[in-house]
Amino acid sequence: MSNILVYALHYDGAINKNSLGAVSEGAKLAKELGGEAHAILVGENIPQDLAASLGEYGAAKVLTAEGPDGLGQPVVDAMAAAIGSGGYKYALFGGGLLGFEVGAGLAARLGAGVAMEITTVRAEGGELVAERPILGDSSISEIKYRSEVGIIIGRLNAFEIVKGGAGAAPVEAISYEASPQSAQATIVTRGEQRGADVDIEGANILVAGGRGLGKAEGFELCTDLAAAFGGSSAVAATRAVVDAGWYPYAGQIGQTGKTVAPKLYLAAGISGAIQHKVGMQSSENIVAINKDANAPIFEFSDLGIVGDLNKILPKLTEAIKAKKG
């Protein structure tokens, strides 16, 4: 049997968008392989209707397993148990932190091949072939699996959400034995929002700041520039500076933050790591200011300025104010 087991992350009564993409992708691929896509949810008191709703995205069946929310290793336990009962040839994960942890742990548990940051998957001769961009997306590798089970971890936003309208899927509760390591971790708090609530998803113009701003106060340069643009503009940030406490989490772009596609994305002091790129690459116009001419962000900018943002941003703010009168 060529079934695909898809992990679906859920939180606060909703399925993660990247998981919905992965379920849709899994359904499409399973059809090509002549099998079914099944989704699995792990958590405390999983709502039945939430699980069943994955049928609308193509899951033929949804497995639920009781376990702690927000930790990777219990999901490894549950998925290994499901796969152990047979019929699964692939495990599929949408982009995101937990999927990486679970997929890698599952590979080790099952002795399975794993590949991550996958952007495209295709069926070929009854097998799946995964594509992964490497070296700052300058080259693409193809991955095939020689193990009984292949593990595919998608890149953020790589898989399109497709609502097929097949209706509710049957839900089956499964049990599994927790591994010793799973018992050694407990989640104390989850999903803590640090810093003020800022809306970056509704903005047409985003001025985003990274480590190159040098210090928390450097964000004033971004705030001033965003204000000069006026209208629907906002300030966003990279994970590194949010983790450093320079800017609120709600304003974060990238893998564990938001995905945006504004009319203008102006990146100040952002190197453009893949984890950031995946959250903003669909922006209509990308402008980058960075003092390092080798920064990856210049590879995908429409306009790149190699220079000192401390000199450029204040003058740019003044010039835009003057222009807009």
Partner: protein, 263 residues
């Protein structure tokens, strides 16, 4: 307690990385350096040792790689590790992330650490996942992207950012923790530490020394076969301006924005 820090030699960031078209694998020639993300893991180990909440007997840097990887170990030792272990064997060449994690776990078993620390990613392969693989083989709990780490007795309190905000997780040692780059600012090694690094004990081991099943490692035995490399679709290159005269640069930016009706 004993802390092992996993480190890796990577191509220097300033050097253009490339794929060897004949093998589809990364060309690992050229200038090498210690993976910059690993310096945060070494620093985290040093802060636990210096923090005094627990007694740290030893910090051991562990790597897998060809003979040149010794330089990464010297750098790790100059940053504070007491000694290092180098897993090096031709049989390991081309191992995928799952095989590499298995081989490293076997090497760690011999050290029997209370805590394994590593960086959030390597600067070259960018797999982000080796910690989870190692932890599974060691049957230890693990967490990635940890940006705050407190140790009291055998309990670690970890903070990290996940999909929905910040999570706080309590973990019992022994454990495998991958640290995010926001966890600390790594120190610079002193000249004395750099000079003394080559004198610290370095243990070189092969697959047979740490009971690695050779049929589970190496390129041909890896379960994920990276078959070929191709070029991505070409994207039109953007306009690049070198800022020499800022007034002129700003004028150009404003004109560019205006042309696209973004003002």
């Amino acid at each position: 307690m004993k802390i092992c820090v996993l480190v890796k030699e990577v191509p220097d960031a300033a050097v253009q990385k490339r794929i060897d078209p004949s093998t589809g694998r990364m060309d690992r020639g050229g200038e090498k350096n210690l993976n910059p993300y690993d310096t945060h893991a070494i620093e985290a180990a040093m802060q636990i040792k210096e923090g005094g909440a627990v007694e740290v007997e030893e910090i051991v840097a562990v790597t897998m790689g060809p003979s040149s990887a010794v330089r990464a170990l010297h750098k790790a030792v100059s940053l504070g590790a007491d000694r290092s272990v180098h897993l090096s064997d031709d049989a390991l060449a081309g191992s995928d992330v799952a095989a590499t994690g298995y081989a490293l776990a076997q090497t760690l078993k011999r050290e029997n650490p209370d805590l394994v620390l590593l960086g959030q990613q390597s600067d070259d392969g960018e797999c982000y996942t080796i910690g989870a693989v190692v932890a599974e083989h060691l049957s230890m709990p693990s967490l990635t992207q940890v940006i705050k780490l407190d140790l009291a007795g055998s309990e670690l309190t970890c903070e990290r950012q996940a999909e929905y905000g910040y999570d706080t997780v309590k973990i019992q040692t022994p454990a495998v923790i991958s640290v995010g780059d926001a966890i600390n600012e790594p120190r610079y090694p002193s000249l004395k530490a750099i000079m003394g690094a080559k004198k610290k004990p370095l243990d070189t081991v092969g697959t047979g020394d740490v009971e690695i099943d050779a049929s589970k490692v190496g390129g041909d035995n890896s379960n994920a076969q990276w078959t070929s490399a191709k070029a991505p679709p070409q994207k039109a290159a953007g306009l690049i301006i070198e800022d020499e005269d800022t007034a002129e640069t700003v004028e150009k930016i404003v004109a560019w924005l205006d042309e696209r009706k973004l003002l």
